[in-house]
């Protein structure tokens, strides 16, 4: 257990010092947020209507694009092999790395995103529900991203391949995240509960899939 905590601390330290963590993902988020009104047009009413969806989709893309960082560096310098031989099972190692990605990238982004929605004329009464839904979904996003990262380890053009593999997995998170944000107020609680259920299911299953994929690459 101490090994896993040490791994978590190490990954968080690396993320904060090296970059490619929250800062870069936030930068990507802002860039997309600038491009969208340029593409869609500056009409405030349209932007307001589209804002929750835009924020969610941009969050998904930002998490996904930072995902290949989860295992790549440790695989390249051989640390992943050492971790595979260590006492904790590889599944827990994968889970710890997904948690590190969540704490360093997904969670900060999901807290910041709704407030950046002001740029899109987001209705102020939605900001807190949006934050709640995004924070609840952010862990699932990191877990599913870790599956994609482990499947495409060290592949050329792996970034695009991660997106193709993981975005279908993100569809339920997006659907229920959106319905927890806007729409029928009666459905907000059920949607949040389903988001929590998706998170728990990912928590149980994603480390197994990720570890199986990592073993294939570490052979």
């Amino acid at each position: 257990m101490t090994l896993l905590f040490a791994l978590l601390r190490r990954d968080l330290t690396l993320a904060s010092r090296q970059g490619g963590g929250a800062g870069t993902a936030l930068g990507f988020f802002l860039t997309v947020l600038v491009l969208l009104p340029i593409g869609i047009g500056p009409d405030q009413a349209t932007l307001q209507r589209l804002a929750p969806g835009i924020l969610w989709i941009t969050l998904l893309l930002s998490v996904l694009l930072s995902a290949d960082r989860i295992f790549q560096q440790d695989f390249e310098d051989g640390s992943l092999e050492v971790m595979a031989m260590a006492p904790p099972p590889l599944e827990l190692v994968a889970l710890t790395k997904a948690i590190a990605h969540w704490l360093s990238t997904s969670l900060p982004l999901s807290i910041a995103a709704p407030f950046l929605g002001i740029l899109l004329n987001l209705r102020t009464e939605i900001i807190w529900p949006l934050t709640l839904a995004m924070v609840l979904g952010s862990f699932a996003l990191s877990l599913l991203a870790s599956i994609g990262a482990s499947l495409t380890l060290n592949l050329r053009r792996g970034g695009l391949l991660i997106s193709i593999l993981v975005l279908p997995l993100y569809v339920p998170v997006l659907v229920f995240g959106m319905s927890a944000t806007i729409g029928n107020p009666e459905l907000i609680m059920p949607s949040l509960l389903i988001l929590a259920a998706i998170t728990l299911a990912s928590l149980a299953l994603a480390p197994m899939a990720a570890a199986a994929a990592l073993r294939a690459y570490l052979r």
Binding site: L151, L169, R215
Partner: protein, 240 residues
């Protein structure tokens, strides 16, 4: 199943079975297409365009069936380490992707005269589209990884993760669609299906399945031969 484990034995069995399978496929298609194009009456609302349904619906059935075959093969590969399971999964994918694309394309061609739109985001179409993406991702992973054993191991996981997600995606898209139901009510099948329309549909469903079987076995044969060739080339370069 164990008797098919030996690739050479499998090839012998496939070679013997294929002509019969192709014959059955052709016969079933002949019967089904006659029923679809000639004997089934035109729909009272849609006229003759309803006949696209006979191509579209079995294609959609097969798209889902083939993904199930892929997932089952991947599971067999993981659990039993059956040597031909990976070959079965790998070769099923492109065929399934084509069926899926056929379903989407013919659906679109049917949608234009019927709904006035090439594409709508209703639950079934969206789910089928996501299924197509799952196929594309699976095929891409085989092409992206060079070493065949590793590619097989990764592909199995991709197939199974995708399969587990299909019901989740289907459920979430259905939910999303009921929330965002468009103003007009879309009727895909029309009223309850009369037997005169139902029997060609069923026959064509079986015909498509036999077509998949024939194509799949042929594809597996090619894949096994390709692997033998690769092994021979490696052995020869080893001797040299």
């Amino acid at each position: 199943m164990q008797q098919f484990a030996n690739p050479t034995r499998f090839l012998q069995l496939a070679n013997r079975a294929l002509p019969t399978i192709w014959a059955v496929t052709v016969i079933l298609f002949a019967i089904g297409l006659y029923g679809a194009l000639v004997s089934a009456p035109p729909d009272y609302q849609q006229g003759e365009t309803v006949r696209i349904m006979f191509v579209h619906v079995p294609a959609a059935w097969l798209a889902m069936l083939v993904y199930t075959v892929m997932a089952l093969s991947s599971a067999v590969a993981i659990i039993f380490r059956h040597p031909l399971a990976d070959v079965a999964a790998k070769t099923a994918a492109p065929i399934g992707a084509v069926f899926c694309f056929l379903a989407l394309a013919t659906g679109s061609l049917w949608g234009k005269p019927m709904w006035g739109a090439w594409w709508v985001w209703d639950a079934r179409l969206t789910s089928m589209f996501v299924l197509f993406l799952l196929y594309v991702g699976y095929i891409a992973i085989w092409q992206a990884i060079e070493e065949p054993t590793r590619a097989a191991m990764i592909a199995r996981i991709v197939a199974l993760v995708g399969f587990v997600n299909i019901p989740v995606i289907k459920f979430s898209v259905d939910w999303w669609n009921t929330l965002h139901q468009p103003a007009s009510v879309l009727r895909m099948d029309g009223s309850t299906i009369d037997w005169s329309i139902r029997w060609p549909l069923l026959v064509l469903g079986v015909a498509y399945t036999f077509l998949f079987l024939a194509l799949h076995l042929t594809s597996m044969r090619s894949e096994i031969t390709a692997r033998k060739l690769r092994n021979l080339q490696i052995a020869r370069s080893g001797e040299a």
